[in-house]
Amino acid sequence: MVKLVYFAWVRERIGKGEEEIELPADVRTAGDLIAHLATLGEEYENALQFPEAIRVAINQEHVEHDEPIAGAREIGLFPPMTGG
């Protein structure tokens, strides 16, 4: 099980802020995770239809989409940041 957390319009479109899910063995990278989630229903598809717009953090650190997710406790998915 891995904890997923969502923010901003990713959170709004999926309809929840966090969840724990079991991942298939062939979901190895952050990019695989986005592609897998997009198959879980209309809300996910709507939130993740443009994967290149999605930023990923593993255990609260930014990673690229080719980063392996093995051993991750918490994975965050969110749009490009707009703070400051």
Partner: protein, 153 residues
């Protein structure tokens, strides 16, 4: 000596004079102090407030990573970074960065560097609340902010 930054993520307002005094009190070695305050502008009267969402835990962690890099790179004597979250009315303060160094250039550059990375790497998102009652538009990330950050690499 390792310089530790002061990092805070909070819903409440901050006071620039108080934060400045916290850096300079009792010290005689600081020669330059640059502070930047980011405010919620009203976009010509159209915007009433911003809703700032953040990733609790990661927001502080990322701000600390950025601050430590700035301290190392510009040999800063002190650095404070405060970012607010929640609903922020137009005219209110959103973010504060204060950098201290022996000479001015490092303090200017340090504060500038922290802001450029804060805007593009610290996990905060702004949602707009408009004067006409509409809301729900998330502010889009700007290419200009990415370019501003990339000038440091």
């Amino acid at each position: 000596m390792t310089i530790l930054p002061t990092i805070r993520v909070q819903s409440t307002d901050f006071d620039v004079a108080t934060e400045t005094a916290a850096i300079t009190n009792g010290r005689r070695d600081i020669g330059a102090l640059v502070s930047f305050t980011g405010l919620c502008r009203d976009e010509g009267g159209a915007l009433t407030a911003l809703e700032l969402e953040h990733y609790p835990g990661m927001a502080e962690a990322e701000m600390r990573r950025i601050a430590l890099e700035a301290i190392e790179r510009f040999q800063l004597q002190a650095l404070t970074a405060i970012h607010r979250f929640g609903r922020i009315e137009s005219g209110e303060q959103i973010v504060l960065v204060i950098a201290a160094s022996p000479h001015r250039q490092a303090a200017f550059d340090g504060a500038n560097f922290v802001m450029d990375y804060l805007k593009t790497a610290a996990p905060f998102w702004k949602k707009e609340h408009m004067q006409d009652g509409t809301s729900g538009q998330w502010v889009s990330a700007k290419d200009a902010d990415d370019r501003a950050r990339d000038k440091w690499s």
